[in-house]
Amino acid sequence: MDKHLTIPDNDKGITAYKIAAITVLIAGLALFPFVITNRFYISLINEMLIYGLLAMSLDVLLGYTGLLSFMHNAYLGISAYVVGLFLIHISPSSLWLALVAGVIFTSVVALPVGWVQVRTGGLAFALLTLAFGMMFHTIVWKWYGLTGGDDGLMGVPNPAITIFGWKIGDSGDPATMYLFTLVIVALCYLLTRRIIRSPFGAVLEAIRENEERAAFIGINVRMYKLFGWMLACMLAGVAGALFILYKGYIGPTTMSAFAGAGVLMMVLLGGLGTLWGPLVGAAIFIYIQDYISTMTEHWEIYLGMVVVLLVLFLPTGFVGLGSYFKRLGKE
């Protein structure tokens, strides 16, 4: 059927322009530590990247599958603890093994949780994420002997970053760690982008759009919801591994309900249903939080105000800003 060479869907494919733009962006970010050698900014951008990955993974759940998780940060935390414990107790130098262990363990924990959660409906799913998240938080907080309790997990070694035995750098060095994070986040972004544009991604979108209809075209909704959940949790696991490698520390506050709401906010700031939106949202959120908390000891007032105003007047997030200006131009 040659007459239908173009397919009218949202996947416009990779154009030369896009490839160029993405390359420029990644190259720009990669050059960053060489231009600005100040570690603070490297750290800040590094944190933005890690939380961007977490927010992106939450968006796979919320924006693409239509499932709300209050405490996606719990899975970042689980992975971070596992990677940290692996490096401390098992092998202080096996970076990749630790990373894989973190993601696998996170999946192993997320699987039964997800199984229970997808059996319930929309709001119940969201509330269950809160219940399970709080449970993980409390366990981590209470298991002093293993996790260091309220003090957090400290003394995580910095393994060398190697590829096929070839040493590239040390994860303790901020610039190296930043580049490593950038590469992993970029890979995760591209991978997730591909998955979202695959037939599998189409199924997730169908569930988000209309769960009941999806069931009536033959989709096993629960199963695919579980797949979506697992994908999101595994990406959160990657973010967690990067987090512990970069911070060298993980504490229970990273897994608290309030931190979880922060991640949700990043997604909304960026805008739902685009993979890059949450990345931008995370960057904005972390920048605002850092900026405001430096300005005043009453930073909570201003942060709260920013959030309230954003939700009231810019509900579509940063992504919506573009179409807002477009509309303005037309009028």
């Binding site: 416009k12 322009y17 896009k18 733009a21 993405i22 420029v24 962006l25 720009g28 970010l29 960053f32 231009v35 600005i36 050698t37 100040n38 570690r39 603070f40 900014y41 750290s43 800040l44 951008i45 944190e47 907080w141 209470k142 002093y144 260091g148 309790g149 309220d150 003090d151 957090g152 400290m154 003394g155 303790g172 901020p174 911070k247 060298g248 520390y249 993980i250 504490g251 506050t253 990273t254 685009t274 890059w276 939106g277 990345l279 931008v280 960057a283 920048y287 850092d290 908390s293 430096t294 000891e297 930073w299 909570e300 940063f318 992504v319 800003l321 573009g322």
Partner: protein, 397 residues
């Protein structure tokens, strides 16, 4: 997508631009990073710490002929936040040293990262014994360490007839300092024949607001003494709730590992009478330096001088003097100067041990009670009962 790429490129550019001038800015004053909790459960303590450091900076005026500039950041008592803020202070604001820090968790997390930060870090409040000889750049000045407090407490208990022959219930806050304090006390108490009811001491979450379950448990145990290791602000809270249940009225004595916060004590009023504890300072300490300091503090901030403020003041003075002594703002030079430095301040002459980077100072056993007439209008104060010299307390130098 195009829009996104354009906008994010713009954003990256904007961020880079906004950062560039800061990074290039040459610092005329000597920047000192102050890390204190201004939000969270110990925020009040953080404010007092800030006061102490500000007062020291003002009185010191300049180091190396340059003005001292304090840059204050809120740790929120969250270690990751503290690490980020420390990076900001060191890398962005070009701070030459970090001072402050409440809570062992935060202190140890910073110590973890001190190699990366590469500036001297002097804590005024972290009490954990893990700090002894932890790192060449990590110092403690101001607060007594846990072992020192524990020794002070045990000595105090043995010295007082009304404390000696009691059985103690040990209840601590569930984090490393609390555990440390509890364990030290129990070990020492056993050596000295003080009866402990629960050798596997109870750990309460830091966020505990309602202590009634723990109080019921204590009531049920029938003990006549409580040893508690709580964050300072919480001590009056617990004492008040214990008083509600009539524990003090029934003759139970409270011994605390830390000194209760003065404002909280004022708020707690009578319920906060009768808390014993080893500390290093109270405004009841009578020496001319201390008395003069109290009045200067009161004039400046119109708030009751607290041990938290003194610790920070002494710590800050030590740091400033060390920078002066080092003759440069080089991290290693300051650290070398800090080792063995001594300062004659509100609690007499104290010095930072050259052996383990931690301070040695005397301890006092105090009891809270109705205050005599005083310039601060305080209704409750910590009366000094005993004094124990530094060399009897901590590890030998």
């Amino acid at each position: 997508m195009k829009k996104f790429l354009f906008m994010s490129a713009l954003l990256v550019f904007a961020v880079m631009m906004s950062m560039a001038p800061h990074a290039a800015m040459a610092a005329d004053p000597v920047n000192i990073g102050v890390l204190v909790p201004l939000t969270g459960i110990v925020a009040q303590g953080g404010v007092e710490m800030k006061y102490g450091i500000e007062m020291a900076a003002e009185e010191k005026g300049t180091v190396l002929g340059r003005p001292i500039k304090l840059i204050v950041e809120d740790t929120q008592v969250k270690p990751p936040v503290a690490v980020t803020k420390a990076e900001k202070l060191v890398y962005k604001d070009n701070c030459k040293a970090l001072i402050g820090v409440f809570s062992s968790g935060v202190g140890l997390a910073l110590a973890q990262n001190i190699d990366k930060l590469n500036v001297p870090f002097l804590t005024t409040h972290v009490m954990t014994t893990q700090l002894y000889d932890l790192h060449p750049l990590v110092f403690r000045s101001g607060q007594l360490a846990n072992d020192q407090t524990a020794v002070g407490n045990v000595k105090g208990i043995l010295a007082r007839e009304n404390l000696k022959n009691r059985t103690y219930y040990v209840l601590v806050h569930d984090y490393s300092w609390g555990h440390d304090a509890g364990e030290r006390f129990i070990a020492l108490a056993k050596q000295n024949g003080i009866k402990i009811y629960n050798e596997k001491y109870d750990k309460a979450p830091i966020s505990t607001k309602d202590w009634s379950s723990y109080i019921s448990k204590i009531k049920a145990s029938g003990v006549d003494g409580i040893y508690m290791a709580f964050i300072t602000n919480v001590i009056p809270v617990f004492a008040k709730q214990a008083a509600d249940f009539g524990l003090q009225a029934q003759g139970v004595k409270l011994v605390s590992a830390a000194a209760p916060g003065p404002l909280e004590m004022e708020a707690g009023g009578e319920a906060c009478h009768g808390i014993f504890g080893a500390s290093d300072w109270s405004w009841d300490v009578n020496n001319p330096t201390s008395d003069a300091w109290e009045m200067r503090f009161w004039e400046k901030f119109k708030t009751i001088p607290s041990d938290a403020a003194v610790h920070s003041y002494v710590g800050a003075m030590n740091l400033f003097n060390a920078i002066e002594k080092a003759g440069s703002t080089d991290a290693k030079a300051i650290a070398d100067a800090l080792r063995g430095i001594s300062y004659d301040g509100p609690y007499g002459t104290v010095r930072i041990s050259a052996k383990d980077n931690c301070m040695r100072n005397d301890a006092v056993l105090t009891e809270t009670m109705a205050a005599p007439d005083n310039p601060f209008g305080a209704k409750v104060y910590m009366k000094v009962l005993e004094t124990f010299p530094a060399n009897e307390l901590g590890p030998a130098e």
